[in-house]
């Protein structure tokens, strides 16, 4: 069964902007799915339509088989969403925000209080339960929105940039939390600009650009499309010029102790190290220039008009 089925979804804003140009998308039950795309690609519009915050122009959306048009109350009851921007009353206490949200879903007060306590403890917010939400740090506010989205136990959770502005330590603990939620059966759709996050957690991925889906596949299948990877090599001894490596033509000297080399799919790291050693260049450390998904993403969505701030 599909957790989410989107057919020919279109959205044209009053300004004439065509945000979605008829997209089709299916997300299987239990999946951890990445919806990626550059800024303004249509991700948030798509999520807005699914959540009932944006009116669609055409097409259909079903959540666990329930249409958001004809069975919107049933469809909504299965959905939890964490938007990109903070959208809670910052003057309300943390606990009240979550209990109220449970109330909107018809969760009885006693159960709502239990679930609120559970999620606030799991997300490290229990000691702040009586604080006004405006007094929380940015990371705490993000966790508050996740707790709020989960309090009615949704079967489908949509996270729009859940870790934006969150430090790496907290981001990793949130990844662990989301992976646990997913293992317990909640289908998760994630949009993020941290592609490392998507690569680590998501099994399937769709890339949306200019209102159209340009890629929809499993994460491994997508990454296989990468026909080269760029590595940064840190050298033990200084070099004066770019080394001549017969098998590699994309080499750049970053400084006297580091070079950047593009390794095509047909060659291996051993080939590279071997050619460097033949020139008495010793590699001390190495790393990917960017993560693999990021490299693919940039290639797929590269546009001349987005390459500069001008």
């Amino acid at each position: 069964m599909f957790a989410l089925e989107i057919e020919n979804l279109k959205k044209t804003y009053a300004s004439g902007l065509q945000a979605l140009r008829g997209i089709d998308l299916s997300v299987e039950q239990g999946d951890f799915f990445a919806l990626l795309g550059p800024n303004g690609a249509g991700k948030s519009t798509c999520i807005g339509i699914i959540s009932g915050l944006v009116n669609k122009t055409g097409g259909s959306v079903r959540i666990f088989g329930h249409s958001i048009d004809d069975q919107f109350l049933l469809a909504k009851s299965m959905l939890g969403s964490v938007p990109q921007e903070f959208n809670f009353n910052t003057f309300e206490p943390v606990e009240e925000i979550i209990i109220n949200q449970a109330g909107y879903y018809g969760v009885p007060a006693r159960v709502a209080r239990q679930e609120t306590e559970r999620y606030l403890k799991q997300l490290g917010l229990w000691q702040h339960r009586r604080s006004q939400a405006r007094r929380l740090s940015g990371g705490m506010k993000r966790r508050l929105m996740i707790a709020r989205a989960l309090v009615h136990k949704p079967r489908l959770l949509i996270l729009d940039e859940p870790t934006a502005g969150v430090d790496i330590e907290l981001r990793r603990s949130m990844w662990d939390f989301l992976e646990t939620i997913n293992q317990q059966g909640t289908t998760i759709i994630l949009t993020t600009h941290y592609l490392e996050e998507a690569e680590r957690m998501c099994r399937n991925v769709a890339i949306i650009d200019e209102g159209s889906i340009i890629q929809n596949s499993s994460m491994p299948a997508l990454l296989q499309q990468l026909n080269s990877e760029t590595f940064v090599l840190y050298l033990r001894h200084e070099i004066e010029r770019v080394p001549e490596l017969p098998s590699f033509d994309q080499i750049e000297l970053l400084d006297r102790n580091s070079i950047e080399v593009e390794v095509p799919e047909s060659l291996t790291i051993n080939d590279l190290i071997g050619e460097l050693e033949s020139q008495h260049i010793v590699v001390q450390r190495m790393r990917n220039k960017v993560n693999r998904l990021e490299e693919l993403f940039v290639k797929m969505t590269a546009k001349s008009d987005r390459s500069s701030f001008a």
């Binding site: 959540s51 959208n87 009240e96």
Partner: protein
């Protein structure tokens, strides 16, 4: 499903009531002080020189109108500020993403507005006891008119908030429409004192019907036939209910 909606309704109502009671110094106290000043200046000081109006002392005459004025302005102010605040800081989305029918959202906000209107009306009535003797001609009419008027102006506040794009927009209607209509709605005078033409013009002011039916509930006298007044109030309630629900269904001002 009905139980789910009932819980959602109670949640919105509770939230709305908590909102204005938490800041009672800004919501309940100022109107009480203001009406106390009206009683002192217009009732006691100037009123004694005016003498009788409609067969009663001037302070007895203006008392129901002042209570009604508090109900009108506070029920309106509660919903317009609460709904616009929710729209502005986007926490209205908490209700929009949840399976809450628009009817439940409407009833929740209106109940919050009614609760504030009635609370302030009750507090003002208590203050009036310092200046005038408490007497009620028909308590059922008093209660009915108070409830219908506060629900009417709660819905009017909601419609204002739906169309408002800035905090200025939520103060324009109260300042330039609501206040003049209230002052010209027969709180301080009987329309029988006006020339015939202005009596006819006054009949176009809906607040006149509310003030007079409320005065009938307290004092047993009115410039307007009670049945006509109640029909007008009910009619306005029905129209604003349909308009509010239609606007929420269409997502005007809250959905792109």
């Amino acid at each position: 499903m009905l139980r789910q909606f009932w819980i959602a309704y109670l949640t919105i109502t509770r939230k709305e009531i908590m909102r204005f009671t938490r800041i009672w110094v800004q919501t309940i106290f100022p109107p009480v002080v203001m009406v106390a000043l009206y009683f002192i200046i217009f009732g006691n000081l100037i009123g004694q020189r005016i003498g009788q109006m409609d067969g009663m002392s001037y302070i007895d005459f203006i008392m129901p109108g002042l209570v009604m004025m508090s109900i009108i302005t506070n029920s309106y102010a509660n919903v317009v500020s609460s709904f616009y605040g929710a729209k502005y800081s986007r926490h209205i989305e908490e209700m929009q993403v949840a399976p809450v029918p628009n009817l439940v959202i409407l009833l929740g906000f209106v109940t919050g507005g009614v609760a504030r209107g009635i609370s302030v009306g009750f507090a003002v009535t208590l203050v009036s006891l310092f200046f005038t003797e408490f007497s009620v001609h028909n308590s059922l009419i008093v209660l009915l008119v108070a409830l219908l008027t506060s629900s009417l102006f709660s819905m009017a506040g909601l419609i204002n908030a739906i169309f408002a794009n800035s905090f200025d927009d939520i103060s324009i209607v109260p300042t330039f429409v609501l206040t003049p209509l209230t002052y010209l709605g027969g709180i301080f005078y009987s329309i029988k004192l006006l020339p015939e033409i202005w009596q006819q013009v006054s009949l176009a002011n809906p607040i006149l019907y509310m003030v007079n039916s409320f005065r009938f509930g307290f004092r047993g006298t009115s410039d307007i036939d009670l049945a006509t007044a109640l029909l007008v109030i009910l009619g306005f309630n029905a129209v604003l209910f349909i308009v509010s629900l239609f606007l929420l269904q269409r997502g005007v001002g809250i959905r792109q």
